[in-house]
């Protein structure tokens, strides 16, 4: 093919009636052909629960990032946030599909994303809270991607080969997400008085949600003992070191804040969420619930 630009090639391709260009429903199983046998010594129910935690983190964070489409301060940031959201959505699809194969329930990614109620979602509350402004988003993305990268790096060695492969790809993606958020933290923190105030307010808003990232559930502790999971507390030193490096470059301090209380000690991993979660799910699931089985 001899095209001068990519755009000519795309136009040429679109005119070929044999090709479909509308991305819609009808997605195929993202794990088609992958060996999803549970490794010996690993409890399938635990593995499914763990994949739901990590998959829900990605799905819900992706949805919040998608809300920034056409709202970011510059076109380049719109594009960046859409791409980060797409990466996380892809990770969510793989992880939710892995959950459905691990517990032998046969549930699909759509069953998990669109046909569960709020109490059944296992994401950390950091993923679900709304952003007051761009500074708030940058702070939340910095914390989320720093934590998730530290987690995925360790999961590359998971005893579940499917989880290990998903993590190995995710590491490369989240490396870009963390760099993006870190560079914006420095620009805003080391920018004008106003940008600095907004960045400080963003950090103050996310700080109470950090402790939850490093608490571990009984499922995670059991899977860590089996070499499948990486337990939250082990990630804390790396997380703290990276955040300190970014804040030092930005001339910012980490705000002193207590953790946001749960309900009777229960938080996101137990299915106990903030008020924001119900509104988020109402939008995320609206089409699937209004038109069950719809395709386009």
């Amino acid at each position: 093919m001899g095209f001068d630009t990519a755009y000519e090639a795309i136009t040429e391709e679109a005119e070929d009636a044999g090709h479909r260009w509308a991305y819609g429903t009808g997605f195929t199983d993202p794990l088609a052909g992958v060996n999803t046998t549970i490794p010996p010594g690993v409890d399938g129910g635990d593995l499914a629960a763990y994949c739901l935690m990590l998959g829900d983190d990605a799905l819900i964070m992706s949805h919040r990032l998608q809300e920034w489409l056409a709202r970011a301060p510059e076109l380049e940031e719109d594009t960046a946030l859409a791409n980060i959201a797409l990466d996380l959505l892809g990770q969510a699809r793989l992880l939710l599909t892995r959950a459905g194969t691990a517990d032998a329930s046969g549930r699909s990614e759509d069953d998990y994303a669109f046909r569960r109620d709020e109490r059944q979602f296992r994401n950390v509350r950091l993923a679900e809270v709304a952003d007051a402004d761009f500074g708030g988003l940058v702070a939340r993305l910095l914390v989320f991607s720093t934590w998730r990268l530290a987690l995925l790096v360790r999961l590359r060695e998971s005893a579940d080969p499917v989880l290990a492969a998903i993590a190995a790809q995710g590491v490369k993606e989240v490396t870009y997400h963390r760099d993006y958020a870190a560079q914006w933290t420095v620009r805003l923190g080391d920018g004008t008085d106003y940008s600095r105030q907004r960045m400080e307010a963003g950090l103050a808003a996310v700080a109470p949600l950090v402790a939850e990232l490093f608490a571990s559930t009984a499922v995670e502790d059991r899977l860590a003992a089996a070499g499948v999971a990486a337990v939250g507390a082990g990630l804390r030193p790396e997380f703290d070191a990276v955040i300190a490096e970014v804040l030092t470059a930005a001339g910012l301090d980490w705000p002193q804040a207590g953790g946001l209380a749960g309900v009777s000690g229960q938080t996101g991993r137990d299915g106990v969420h903030t008020e924001a979660m119900g509104y988020l799910l109402a939008e995320l699931q609206s089409v699937a619930r209004a038109y069950p089985g719809a395709t386009w």
């Binding site: 090639a9 190995a168 490396t175």
Partner: protein, 173 residues
């Protein structure tokens, strides 16, 4: 019993067809150029094509699957299975020399080789670095990155300070 050359003929044909499938988002490249086509095998009438997605969220995979099935059907292979291979994950190093040439010819700067970061914590990049990406229009090395993400997840945006042309670059991952 058929001879080995006869049993190999369908494999060669199936492989040729699979190798010619274009990537929907970088249509100047075939999936072989892009390095996502990992294997083609033929057992009797059954063709198995193995693919590795570039990014977790790559939305082109269903299109590529549909294209593979329809092109192989047109070549006489009715029974086609497309399998996902996640390990090893795709890296921009899998793009072939021919693929790199085609990218540059289409005005997209090809990726450099990826630094080996396997194992251990991933280093943080706080200062937007200025790697030497040559402008695909004029060849100048005096270019700057204008955005870390572009129209697809696999590319970022640059501008040439010599000829002022903006261009895309396939990221090293």
């Amino acid at each position: 019993m058929v001879t080995s050359s006869l049993t190999r003929a369908p494999l060669i044909r199936a492989r040729q067809v699979a190798q010619s499938v274009p990537d929907p988002e970088l249509p100047m490249l075939t999936i072989a150029d892009l390095g996502i086509l990992r294997d083609v095998s033929v057992t009797g009438q059954h063709v198995v094509v193995s693919l590795t997605p570039t990014y977790s969220g790559c939305p082109a995979v269903p299109e590529i699957r549909a294209d593979l099935v329809s092109r192989l059907a047109a070549a006489g292979f009715a029974d086609v299975e497309v399998r996902t291979v996640l390990n090893p994950p795709w890296t921009s190093d899998f793009i072939s020399p021919e693929g790199r040439r085609k990218l540059a010819a289409a005005g997209i700067a090809p990726p450099r080789s990826r630094p080996d970061t396997h194992g251990g914590p991933v280093p943080l990049t706080l200062v937007a670095h200025r790697p030497a990406i040559d402008c695909p229009a004029c060849g100048s090395a005096d270019t700057e990155r204008t955005a870390a993400f572009s129209g697809t997840a696999c590319k970022d945006l640059y501008r040439c300070r010599t000829c002022a042309e903006p261009f895309e670059h396939v990221k090293e991952i």
